[in-house]
C-alpha cells in the first residue's frame, strides 16, 4: 500500500513525542492517541478506536501494539511500521543509555522524590485511559454490565483475564450486546 510521505512524517513525529510522554507505559497515552486519531485528525471513528484497543489487549505481545493497528489504518503497512518504530524506538535508546548510569543514583534523595512524584501521575494517566475507553465502549446497558463485571472480577479474583475476554466474546456473539 502506498502512503504519501507527509502522513508518515506526521505519524513518526506524533508517536515519538507520545512515547516520551508515556509515563507509566503505553496505556498511559491511550487518551492522547484517541485525541489525535479520532478528535483532531479524524483518522477513525470512536468505535474503530475502541475496537483497536480491544484487539491490542487480546492479541499476544505488549499492549503498545495498538500503535501498529492505528498506523496501518492511517497509511497501510508503511504506516504500521513507522508508528511502531516511533513508539518503541526512542525510549529504548534512552533505556540503553540511562540503564548504565541508573544504579549510581539508586539511593539519592532526588531520585526517590522524582519516582514518588511520578507514580500518581502515571496511575492517573492510566485512569484517564479507563475513562476514555469506557465512554467509547459502553453504549448499552449490557455493555456497561460487561465492563462492571469484568472490572470487579479482575479486581477481586486472580482469574486469567483471557477467560473474562472469552466470556464477553460469547455474550457478544450471542447477540446480547
Amino acid at each position: 500500500m502506498k502512503a504519501d510521505g507527509d502522513i508518515l512524517v506526521l505519524l513518526a513525529v506524533q508517536f515519538a513525542i507520545m512515547s516520551l510522554l508515556a509515563l507509566g507505559g503505553a496505556n498511559a497515552v491511550v487518551p492522547e492517541m484517541h485525541r489525535q486519531a479520532v478528535e483532531l485528525r479524524g483518522w477513525m471513528d470512536e468505535r474503530q478506536f475502541a475496537d483497536m484497543f480491544a484487539i491490542s489487549q487480546v492479541a499476544p505481545g505488549p499492549n503498545v501494539m495498538i500503535v501498529t493497528l492505528i498506523g496501518y489504518q492511517v497509511a497501510g503497512f508503511s504506516g504500521a511500521l513507522v508508528a511502531t518504530l516511533a513508539m518503541c524506538g526512542p525510549t529504548a535508546v534512552l533505556a540503553h543509555f540511562l540503564g548504565r548510569t541508573w544504579d549510581r543514583f539508586k539511593d539519592t534523595k532526588w531520585r526517590i522524590a522524582v519516582q514518588q512524584g511520578l507514580v500518581p501521575i502515571s496511575v492517573g494517566l492510566v485512569g484517564a485511559s479507563a475513562i476514555v475507553l469506557t465512554r467509547a465502549a459502553d453504549h448499552s446497558l449490557v455493555a456497561g454490565v460487561i465492563t462492571a463485571a469484568t472490572a470487579a472480577t479482575a479486581y477481586w479474583t486472580r482469574w486469567n483475564p483471557l477467560w473474562l475476554i472469552a466470556m464477553a466474546a460469547l455474550v457478544g456473539l450471542a447477540g446480547l450486546v
Partner: protein
Amino acid sequence: MSETAAPPSAAPIPSHADLFLAFFRITLSGFGGTLPWTRRMFVERKRWMTADEFNEAYAFCQFLPGPNIVNLAAVFGSRMRGPTGALAAWLGFLLLPFFIMVVAAIFYQQYGEVEAVRRILAGIVPAAAGLLIATVGKMAAPMFTRFGPAPFVLLAVAIAIGVMRWPLLWVLVVLAPLSVALACWRRG
C-alpha cells in the same frame, strides 16, 4: 551485580541469538500481558537475573517513559551485550507482535463489518475497558490508604486528560513538576 547474600546469576552471559530467541519466545506465550512470562524466563528458567535484579530493572523501566516491557528488553539486552544486545532483544520482542498486528489490521479492514465479527467485538470492547479499570484500581488502592498528595494528583490527572480532554503535554508540564515538588516537600 549486587553484593548482598543473594546468589549470583548462575547462567553464562547470553549470546545475541539467545537474547533474540528468548524474547521471541516470550512474545509467543505472552497472551494477556508479557511481564509474568518475561520474569519466568529470566529468573526461573534461564537464571540470567536474580529476583532482586529483575525487580530493580523493572522499577527502572516503569520510571522511564514509553512501553515499559519493551524498554525492559532493551535494558536487559544492553546490560548483557551492549547496544547490539539491546537491539537483538528489542527486535526479538517486537518482530512477532508486529506481524501479528499487521495481520490483525488486514483482517479488521476486511472483516471488521461482518456481523459475527461485529458482535464479538461488541462483547470484547467493554470487557477490555473493564480490565483496564481493574488495573487502575489495583495500582491506585495503595495510594488511598494514607493521607498525602498522591490521590489528589492522581484524580487531577485523570480528570484533566480523561474528562476535560486537555492535551497530554501541557497537563504533564504543569502537574509532573508539581507532583515531584509535593513529594520532596513531604519528605522534608
